[in-house]
Amino acid sequence: MSALAFLVHHRSVDLVGVTALHALRSDMGFDQVVISLRRDDAYILEGKGVHADRDWADSCLAQAHWFNPNKHRHAAYEAAPGALAAAQSGAAWPRPWLEKLLASDRPDLAEGEQEGLKGWLAAETLEHDDEHRVTLAAWDRENGLAALPHGSWPSREARMLKAQLWTAVLRAEDLDHACALVQRFALSESRQDGLLIHPHMEGWATVGATAKV
């Protein structure tokens, strides 16, 4: 069994991401902590009949309402299965998650250059020893997990998780500290802390954490 992750990202400035970063830094006291914040939409397909291949990637591309090619970039990845189970039951998110780039909006790039797109979740380069990168996935508790939407699919038996990926580059003592800080400013538990994810409405998981190597 394999899984397919289809990621969509704004070509130009993501106003939601910029506004969230501004609130974190200017209003919530994380100005010395958060360096950058990035937001991607993820459509994760798993289940019987899903193959991380070109047919499935093309089917994702055909779902025209997922993205606007004039406004968004996109990439399809072979992914480790388990994300849907994690969303459903709280199991650990599969790591490493994104395994292989299958297709992107830059097929003209040479193979080696396409490798650069594997950093889709890691667009920001970590420059200093105290910089870390943490990605959280958040999904609607009620509607995040769903059957495949209407459209042309190689199989209708798969299921889908629609999630939002928040990737923060931040200063922290170590990776554990970085993950704890991200949870603090991401989970809206109180007015003082937490902005990005509302725990009464959304599920979430840490899907990636990287330190400078």
Binding site: L15, T19, A23, S190, R191, L195, L196, H198, H200, M201
Partner: protein, 274 residues
């Protein structure tokens, strides 16, 4: 008797400030606009607060989320902790929920959310006139004048109160304990669309906090504050009053159903303003 000062808070994207100022003047208080980029310390001058509807910060991240983190909401929290009342309408309600001021069992802790509407066969923004009643045991600063169902419009995409806190949800199970709930024209609790316009937990239209001094309310009382704002085809007593007023302009200028809630601000005049 001096008139109490009530602040209408404006964040970028809110769009109901003019009519909110107008209804506050109508209930007999002095209302002033306080913008997000003014010194937050200015709020100490006021005896009460009104956060109107709209789309603060374009609903980025989540409706009300960005505004709730502002210095103005820090200052508002300090003022309501002194016992001053605050009313949030629609997006204002979303800001109060995101600020942890309602239900406010622990000030600042976010105990509820306002999720996207749950409507059979459709999604997104929804607008219609609804009826709302107040639970007798949940009487508060804003609802104690409400003796019969009031009619007013809802206009929102995220108006469904919900919580993962089972114990908190249970406190609203009995209609008498609901601060404000959707109902039919006679006052019977609504449990399905269209009388219940968004699938809200236990039909909640409004949730109060801070001992009833703070109210987050999704419908728009400032849009039904005069009788002329009520649709002529509305069922129930308010529709009858509207039809009886016909084209008599003096009668049409009488208070509408939304005023039953808004006139609470008038009580500030006798409290000893600011």
């Amino acid at each position: 008797m001096s008139r109490a000062q009530v602040a209408v808070l404006q964040f970028p994207g809110l769009n109901c400030e003019t009519e909110s100022l107008r209804v506050l003047e109508r209930v007999g208080v002095d209302a002033a606009l306080v913008r997000w980029n003014e010194p937050a310390s200015r709020l100490t001058e006021f005896a009460g607060f009104f956060i109107p509807g709209g789309w603060s910060y374009q609903d980025r991240v989540r409706a009300g989320a960005i505004a709730s983190k502002s210095a103005l909401m820090d200052a508002l929290t300090r003022e309501v902790e002194k016992g001053k009342p605050a009313l949030g309408i629609c997006n204002g309600a979303q800001i109060l929920v995101e600020s942890g001021l309602v239900p406010g069992r622990e000030t600042g802790r976010i105990e509820m959310g306002l999720a996207h509407n749950a409507i059979p066969g459709r999604e997104g923004y929804f607008s219609r006139w609804v009826f709302v009643n107040a639970g007798e045991r949940a009487s508060s600063f804003f609802t104690e004048n409400i003796r019969e169902p009031i009619a007013l419009p809802v206009a929102h995409a995220e108006g469904r109160f919900l919580t993962r806190d089972v114990a908190l949800a249970a406190t609203y199970a009995d209609p008498s304990d609901r601060p404000l709930y959707y109902c039919d024209a006679e006052g019977a609790p609504a449990d399905r669309w269209p009388l219940l316009p968004n699938g809200s937990l236990h039909g909640l239209a409004g949730v109060s906090g801070m001992d009833g001094q703070v109210l987050a309310f999704m419908p728009h009382p400032e849009r039904s504050a005069w009788l002329w704002q009520v649709p002529e085809d509305l069922p129930g007593p308010w529709g009858e009053r509207r039809r009886a007023a016909a084209a008599d302009h003096r009668k049409l200028e009488q208070a509408g159903p939304g005023m039953e809630l808004l006139r609470a601000f008038g009580k500030l005049n006798t409290r000893g303003a600011s």
